[in-house]
Amino acid sequence: MEDALLINRLQFAFTIMYHYLFPQLTMGLGLLIVILKGLSLWKKDERYNVSARFWAKIFAINFAVGVVTGIPMEFQFGTNWAKFSTFAGGVIGQTLAMEGVFAFFLESTFLGLFLFGEKKLGQAGHFAAAFLVFLGSWVSGYFIIATNAWMQHPVAYAIASDGSVHVNDYWGLLFNPWIGWQYTHNMIGAVITAAFVMAAVGAYYLLANRDAEYGKIFIRTGVVAGAIASLLVAFPTGDGQVQNVYKHQPVTFAGMEGLFETKEGAELMLIGQPDMEKLRMDNPLYVPKLLSFLTHYRWTAEVKGLQAFPRDEWPTNVPLLYYSYHIMVGLGTIFIAIMLVSVFLLWKRKLYATRWVLWILMLAFPFPYIANTAGWMTAELGRQPWLVYGLMRTADGISPTVSAGNSLFTLLGFLGMYFVIGVLFLLLVIKKINQGPESGAATH
């Protein structure tokens, strides 16, 4: 049973983390393409249109991988987490089904029209198709966040006689107080990924002395969007989300911050390694009293540490939770620095010639992927040992009849298949980037 639990968790963690590499770019790039398309209509400048078409090609490859790696997610609730589905299907089945009905039909229909229908639709119609694809992907995100928010902070449910939960307040489920910050934080995180990717391709073109005209458009769009999004992801959305965790999951909060003892005037840990034997931080580097201030706006307020809670309610992997959270916050801070420097140079009209900044922009694009992944690891590890916070433990949620051997077989299959998909994806995207924005433009 222990084996089965571990393998089921690993399979879900692996497939969801891999899957989410793609939708974050889909959702962020969806917005940036709408902006490029809008600029081409507004400024009557064909270069923005060519840019939009170029990014649409990368969007299409990325979207296809997002779709195929997304199908296993919904299915795994049934295949690997059957007890959880029986327990919670009456609530989260609603949001998951709504995602299919309201988001997937919209996205899949208008993506085809957006990619292949520019001539048929005309420019205004093409803009509308781009907008609807963007809308579909953001609606999809909303229903997934609504599902996750319910698992983090269950609301709007009643427990039936057989022990399963059922929704009893539809709007309460869709406007769970947890959703607001989590959704905005997550979506802005997606915009950061897309902004860094777009700026990276632009920086590559400038540094490689090719397609300079488009390189500048990509850098400009990426850097402006990236600067706004990097600020918004920290404040107010990141701050709001942490306040939510502090209020509703105080033990998770203590684990994230690496706070073992309850303290008045608690310190904000910057660097340090949680020592789970001695229950303290090794090599701590911290700002005194800042954590109390950030949570209560008072320097001497009391903040509860892990030891204030029974051990079996602690997050199951405190060090990994602590690292995930600190990696996300640390990278987020670096993103603000990179983007503010870039925007400043752009304003001074020096960015395109400042090669060391272009190098940084070109090489920085993997880090938003890491930060987004670390953010989700914080949310999911922080919820442990609960599958539905306070209602169902993760260990109680797995399928009772699927043996560890069977799930290991499929986990290995996913590993192999996703490795090949990853290689092909990189190959195709690199090819498109090398062909450049003007390749194939004449055929439209």
């Binding site: 009456g90 085809g112 292949f116 799930s407």
Partner: protein, 348 residues
Amino acid sequence: METLWFILVAFMLTMYVILDGFDLGAGIIHLLVGRTENERRLTLNAIGPVWDGNEVWILAAGGTLYFAFPQVYASSFSGFYLPLIIILWLLMLRGLGIEFRHQVHNPLWKRFWDSAFSFASILLAVFFGAALGNIVRGVPLNSDGYFFEPLWTTFTVVPESGILDWFTVVLGLVAFFTLTAHGANYIAMKTDGEVQTRSRSIAGKAWWGVLVTSVVGLIATSSIKPEIWTTFTEHPWGYIFPVLGVLGLAGMIIFNVRRQDTRAFLSSTTFIAGMLASTAFGLYPNLLPSSIDPSNSLTIYNTAAQAYGLNVGLVWWIVGMVLAAGYFIYVYRAFRGKVVLPAEDAGY
């Protein structure tokens, strides 16, 4: 209310089989009807703009099953663990085949994805048929409402059988031939010239396969699960569904011979809808019958979610379906008529 949701889930699954069914059929015949690069691009462009939307029906149907009958979703998905994950892998391979093939202009690259697309489509058709067979035959549900089936045991129909036994394989073949004919009708309708001629010929040959396997499947079903006819004897109006199926089957060959492709396609659509509706009608009120003890069967009554969720669900489901119908009508109109091959860099 439970009955209504039973019908709605059945409706969505039927929509999936009809719509994605022709994509799968197109995949099955892809290597046969397209000999040159341009001929193969014809097939792919015929389904290219619509396959993804068609596939969404199974996700939406799965989601609907999940919230309306959570226990059935949990029990069937975990019980059919291996075949379902294999179906997922095949769906992934099929999708990548369609979307990756046109990205690189290299004959070996294209040949690989053509074969992957075709291979995945063939196996998907057989697996979907076998899945239906499992539901009709029943599965070894225990008193907790769970079961687990290996892929195969001895290929005989016993309570502890595997996913694949001779009965489910027969239904897998029914699905294979039906979707072959259905996809061939679609491609014949959407193309001209050689590809159209070859598709018609395949649709004609596949029809005989449909006929033979359907008759065998029908006799087998009646001997293994005679109960399936009880609902029909109790509510004789239900015979309308098998009659529709038979009319569809007849229409398939008549319009094939007359070279009326659109009508042939509508006939195969009618056949699929008639057969699936008959199966659903025969199963009702069971969603997943137990092969060990009928009292363990999962029915609409012992698995439905509570009334509030089902009522609210109906409101948004109707709104969502009206929207989805609008998108489908729009996109099928936008890409109506025969496929015209776009330039090499655009389209599939």
